[in-house]
């Protein structure tokens, strides 16, 4: 599964997800699935895909069909743009190619679908992202605290978190 037809598949997601109506309140520009091929040596990954949050499940399906493995889910808190970015790192077990899928979610409503059904490994990663950023993964079987104590209501990795 070479990178070219992966790129084609990702671009298809762009067509299906034509924005219903550019809502007045979408702060940033409509996030098209930017598919950028990057050099592995410089950036550490070969394909950088930006996907609107609701298409995350389709991206995971493409990756699953291409026999990629989910390495990790990273949350990044962009306080300036009031957005939470979720970065999915996939790696191919055969060719060592690496694909990064990014999705941006407004800080006020940090919801995006869970990919636990396709990649059960994401179960713990999503629970950890929920712990640290307050991201809510809809459809996740048990979104309880993983590393923080059960009754923790704070999310430490948010930039505006003060101990």
């Amino acid at each position: 599964m070479s990178l070219e037809n992966l790129t084609k598949k990702f671009l298809e997601i762009a067509v299906q997800s034509a924005p219903p109506a550019p809502g007045p309140d979408t702060p940033a520009a409509e996030p098209q699935p930017l598919v950028v091929a990057t050099q592995h040596a410089v950036k550490g990954y070969d394909l950088d895909v930006t996907v609107p949050p609701e298409r995350v499940l389709d991206a995971a399906r493409i990756m699953d069909e291409a026999a990629f493995m989910l390495e990790s889910i990273t949350g990044v808190d962009w306080l300036a743009e009031q957005q939470l970015e979720v970065v999915y790192d996939y790696t191919c077990l055969v060719s060592g190619a690496r694909v990064t899928v990014r999705a941006r979610v407004p800080r006020a409503t940090p919801e995006l679908p869970s990919i636990e059904a396709l990649h059960p490994g994401a179960n713990w990663h999503e629970r950890e992202a929920h712990d640290f950023f307050g991201l809510i993964f809809t459809g996740h079987p048990g979104l309880i605290a993983l590393l923080l104590p059960e009754d923790a209501t704070f999310h430490p990795l948010l930039k505006d978190f003060s101990a």
Binding site: E71, T74, D89, L147
Partner: protein, 372 residues
């Protein structure tokens, strides 16, 4: 659970394995729902050793966070520092001199051999045999002495710096390593005769807790766990970094996927690492060990990068997002044991308690690496 017993009303009870238990190698609790001695469901509860390493990464400068990386997977500490240092170098664009790259590979492979030796001893103790632990620790002690003579520390080395290593290796380190390679090679036949061929060990490990390649891929298990299930995924080969392409070594893969396969992968990896060490010592170039002008306060360019390293337990990945200041904006540490343990719930269903402990031991977990 045989079909015959389905009809009888079976009462299950919850057994807490840990957090203080001799077989968990650290503070890990597993809530086992047991039916007699068979495990119906095993839910690992982690977080007892959580120190919020990633927040520390954000409020300390790059250089000040360096000692913390050795406290992640302290049994193979070189790999964590190697991953972190290379990620920062990739972002800041620092070139590392040849000799420093070789020294990094040599010390990392020595640490891998030490980590696997510790694992073999601890795995045998989990299965009830106590004597091999003493023999493997005796061999591992020689590595620790070698590394202590060069880096100053025995377990949490803080030896790598951005742009190289902090001090050079001397001749008796090289001579000591060559002597150690010869010594360990002479000990391996004894280990194989004493452990691998032992009928009780083979009965404890063969066809026990088989993990399929698909489960490994689905759960993101890497390292000896996935190589024990038949997938030749090794970061040193697929995404070559540092000077690994210059050495020829092969990646041991066993298709069975049971505890024995994972044990064999690690034993062969010890021999492969010895081969790498030999070649690295032969091709060791001269020259400086530190890049010339590395700024004391490092301010890498804005942007993010990902770097992963083949640690003793799997791929240890560092995703670094920097915003130009001297502190990382976001530092994500992808720990191998985190994903390796996540498949325990799936794979231990229906196992007996001793077999589940053999599976837990064969995953080679270091709990602080999971909790971070």
């Amino acid at each position: 659970m045989t079909q015959g017993t389905q009809s009888i009303h079976r009462e299950t009870f919850v057994l807490n394995l840990g957090p203080q238990h001799p077989a968990t190698h650290g503070v890990l609790r597993i809530k086992l729902t047991m039916d007699g001695e068979y495990i119906e469901d095993a839910e690992p509860v982690i977080g007892y050793g959580h120190r919020m390493q990633e927040k520390m990464g954000e409020n300390r400068s790059y250089a000040k966070y360096l000692p913390n990386t050795a406290r992640l997977d302290y049994v193979a500490a070189m790999f964590n520092t190697h991953g972190y240092v290379c990620a920062v170098e990739r972002l800041a664009g620092i070139a590392v001199p040849e000799r420093a790259e070789f020294i990094r590979v040599i010390t990392a492979e020595l640490n891998r051999v030490a980590s696997h030796l510790l694992w073999v001893g601890a795995f045998l103790v989990d299965l009830g045999g106590f004597t091999p632990l003493l023999y493997t620790f005796d061999d591992r002690e020689q590595i620790l002495d070698l590394l202590e003579a060069t880096t100053g520390a025995r377990l949490t080395f803080c030896y790598y710096r951005f742009g190289g290593v902090c001090n050079d290796i001397d001749d008796d380190f090289v001579a000591g390593t060559r002597k150690f390679i010869a010594h360990l090679r002479s000990r391996m036949p004894m280990y194989h005769a004493f452990i691998t061929k032992n009928i009780i060990f083979r009965k404890r490990c063969e066809e026990i807790a088989v993990i399929s390649a698909e489960t490994c891929r689905k759960f993101g298990a890497t390292g000896p766990v996935i190589r024990g299930s038949g997938v030749a995924y090794d970061v040193r080969k697929l995404e070559p970094y540092s000077v690994y392409p210059r050495f020829n070594f092969n990646v041991p893969v066993y298709p069975e996927g049971d505890c024995m396969a994972r044990y064999r992968v690690r034993m062969d990896e010890i021999e492969e690492s010895l081969r790498i060490l030999e070649q690295a010592l032969d091709q060791l170039p001269g020259g400086p060990v530190m890049a010339e002008k590395v700024p004391r306060i490092l301010k890498p360019a804005k942007g993010d990068c990902y770097f992963n390293v083949e640690s003793a337990r799997g791929t240890f990945g560092v995703r670094l997002v920097s915003d130009g200041t001297d502190k990382a904006y976001r530092l994500k540490l992808r720990s191998p044991c985190f994903s390796n343990l996540s498949l325990f719930q799936e794979c231990s269903r229906g196992l007996l308690l001793p077999d589940a402990l053999a599976l837990l031991g064969s995953l080679d977990l270091v709990i602080p690496d999971i909790d971070r």
